[in-house]
């Protein structure tokens, strides 16, 4: 019954080796710099008192 190429597989094949490329390394570098910047303040800002109680 399949009439079209698999949509998920097609999309995934475009990003099959993302962690070796320049875009990945650029994001990693950006995250590395941002993560150490005011990390405790970030955790406080995103805290949800009592959560989904």
């Amino acid at each position: 019954m399949k009439t079209e190429p698999n949509r998920i597989a097609t999309v995934e094949s475009e990003t099959s080796q993302p962690v070796t490329g320049q875009p990945w390394l650029a994001v990693v570098e950006q995250v590395r710099r941002d993560a150490v910047d005011e990390s405790q303040r970030y955790l406080d800002e995103t805290t949800v008192p009592h959560g989904g109680e």
Binding site: M1, K2, T3, E4, N6, R7, I8, A9, V11, E12, E14, T15, S16, Q17, P18, V19, T20, P23, W24, A26, V27, V28, E29, Q30, V31, R32, D34, A35, V36, S39, Q40, Y42, L43, D44, E45, T46, T47, V48, P49, H50, G51, G52, E53
Partner: protein
């Protein structure tokens, strides 16, 4: 309530039931997501807004974007033109809690559900960023904050509640619960009267004191709550102590009803479905887990799963975190009945809402598609009675925690027959059952093949990883826990716990500063829905669901002078005696007839 031991085994496949008349991947599906609010006040802001005020600012912006109508519900919220809804989820508002909750409209099929979920993410995050407050607001689509508070995602699937005897026991049981319900209502009414009396007496004492001794603002807040003390709506209508006391008392008053309802559900509702779904859900974190860095710095495959402590529960009533939530039945009985007693009729139906509390808020679209698609497909196989025999897990909750804590994917869990299995083996079992089901039914939609193929790809990559130990890099951007772990390893390898935890949480932030969104902007994450599809989904409801008519009324009548209010079951135009009420069940009958016609059509095609 805690239940970690299953006692029975499936000895043979069930015979096909009336349920298999529903076409594959055609059941109603709805997703609920609680978003944490991140707020950074402007420099020097002395009185930051409460979470309720942030919600109000977001809603004010939302109303400018899409047609909306106020919700007829016990929770503060509004329905959107696409049939979905936005709520303020705050059980302890005076104590500072509060989340934004988005509910997708009822959808058919996993791709549609993901599309409406993404449309909701996009709409709410844009409105949050544009909210008119002194500071920056953004939403975080995760399941647990830096201090371990749990919230997050829930899934709803239309499913067969029970067959013949269990359905009748369910209905009779509901009738027998009526006296307990009336008693509980009387108790709550008494509590409300007592609170009002307290406020009147405290006011009579406080007002003369105010002229004589000029007590501080803090005293007024402690006596009356912020709303009364400040004369404005802050979302904190009672003092913290009164909120804590009334919440405790409410639970005490409702406890007998809650216990009896839980027992009735455990005995009758979705019994076979729940039993056969458990091994699948317990191992589903491999495919759909969002990843978690715990307070000891250990990595788990799923965000919410380590907090799950029972199979079936009301979802927080007794601090339970269940795999299957039955809180919606409880709320229907206890609260919704106040607004429209006639809507209790939906509790009579043979097909009802099965709510799954075990599941993470996904950032990867592929993972979200698989979370919904695999579950819906497994439900189809179970209801068709075509799931091959499998022994149940001996201790499912322990198995869940074990699977989630194991990055090597080699952790084994014991079955009741003594054998031991890995999560991958369980997932392969269900994949194989679904694959055979799809092969046996030539009329299944193309989407079912997509689910099977994508599921197979992910499991294949994980099996390779289990054997070689090499990171399945092809899953980066498709499976959240793999993506997050890779980011933690490469960007936060030697960083402090706080910095690594920030990576864990900021991965889920819905803004250009969110780490997943950075990956997506760099083209490193699979995209299943195009921007124009998402834009359309913010304004137009899915076809052939109760949301279709709900969305139509909101689009057509929300700007009229006559007030419009909406619930999941009805639309009400006008107020008081002159109001006109439209039950959305009228649509559902038409949809059921359409489903029957499709069934007969596909059967005829099969015979030909």
């Amino acid at each position: 309530m805690r239940s970690t031991r299953a006692s029975d085994t499936w000895t043979k496949p069930q015979s096909p039931t009336v349920a298999n008349s529903v076409p594959t991947l055609d059941r109603l599906v709805g997703l609920e997501t609680e978003y944490a609010i991140r707020f950074r006040p402007a420099e020097g802001l002395a009185d930051p807004p409460t979470r309720y005020q942030l919600y109000q600012a977001l809603v004010a912006r939302l109303k400018r974007h899409v047609p909306t109508a106020p919700a007829r519900h016990f929770k503060e919220g509004l329905f959107l033109a696409n049939g979905g809804a936005v709520w303020f989820e705050g059980e302890r508002p005076a104590a500072g809690s509060g989340l934004i909750e988005g509910s997708t409209p009822e959808c058919r099929g996993p791709l549609e559900a993901v599309r409406y979920q993404r449309a909701m993410d996009q709409l709410l995050s844009q409105c949050a960023r544009m909210a008119e407050v002194d500071g920056l607001v953004s939403l975080v689509k995760n399941d647990r904050d830096g201090r371990g508070h749990v919230y997050g995602a829930q899934e709803n699937y239309e499913a067969v509640l029970g067959s013949a005897w269990s359905l009748w026991v369910w209905r009779v049981g509901l009738v027998l619960l009526a006296p307990l319900l009336l008693l509980a209502w009387a108790g709550v009414a008494l509590m409300i009267v007592t609170c009002l009396l307290y406020l009147a007496v405290a006011g009579l004492i406080y007002l003369p004191l105010r002229w004589l001794a000029r007590p501080s603002h803090r005293v007024a807040v402690a006596l009356f709550g912020r709303d009364l003390a400040e004369g404005r709506e802050t979302g904190m209508p009672t003092p913290v102590w009164m909120e804590t006391l009334s919440l405790g008392l409410t639970r005490l008053i409702y406890a007998p009803l809650a216990m009896c309802l839980w027992a009735l559900i455990a005995l009758t509702a979705f019994r076979r479905t729940r039993r056969q779904l458990v091994p699948f859900l317990v191992s589903r974190c491999l495919v759909a887990g969002a990843g978690l860095l715990d307070d000891q710095g250990r990595f788990h495959l799923a965000d919410k799963a380590p907090a799950v402590n029972c199979l079936l529960g009301l979802g927080g009533f007794w601090r339970d975190r269940p795999v299957f939530t039955c809180g919606h039945f409880f709320k229907s009985l206890c609260v919704d009945a106040w607004f429209a007693p006639g809507d209790l009729r939906h509790l009579w139906r043979a097909r009802q809402r099965l709510q799954i509390g075990l599941g993470d808020s996904n950032m990867c679209e592929t993972a979200e598609f698989l979370r919904v698609g695999t579950t819906a497909l497994v439900l189809d196989v179970i209801e068709a009675g075509e799931l091959p025999p499998l022994a149940l897990l001996a201790r499912p909750i322990d198995a869940l925690h074990g699977f989630c804590a194991d990055q090597s994917l080699t952790q084994r869990a014991r079955l009741v027959d003594g054998r031991e299995v890995t999560a991958l083996e369980l997932q392969r079992f269900y994949w194989s059952a679904c694959q055979q089901y799809v092969a046996r039914h030539p009329d299944v939609p193309e989407e079912a093949h997509e689910v099977i193929d994508a599921w197979d790809e992910v499991l294949g990559a994980l099996e390779q990883y289990q054997l070689s130990g090499e990171v399945p890099t092809q899953l980066v951007g498709a499976v959240d826990w793999v993506t997050k772990r890779q980011l933690l390893d490469e960007a936060g390898g030697d960083a402090s716990w706080e910095a690594r935890k920030k990576i864990d949480i900021c991965y889920h932030e819905l803004s250009p500063l969110g780490y997943f969104q950075m990956l997506q902007a760099a083209g490193l994450a699979a995209v299943l829905n195009q921007p124009q599809e998402l834009e359309r989904a913010t304004r137009t409801p899915p076809a052939n669901t109760p949301a279709t008519m709900r969305g139509h009324y909101i689009r057509e009548f929300s700007s009229e002078s006559e007030p419009l209010s909406v619930s999941w079951h009805r639309v009400v135009m006008g107020r008081g005696w002159g109001s006109k009420s439209v039950r959305l069940v009228r649509y559902e009958r038409a949809a059921a007839a359409q489903t029957r016609r499709r069934r007969l059509g596909s059967r005829d095609a099969g015979q030909r």
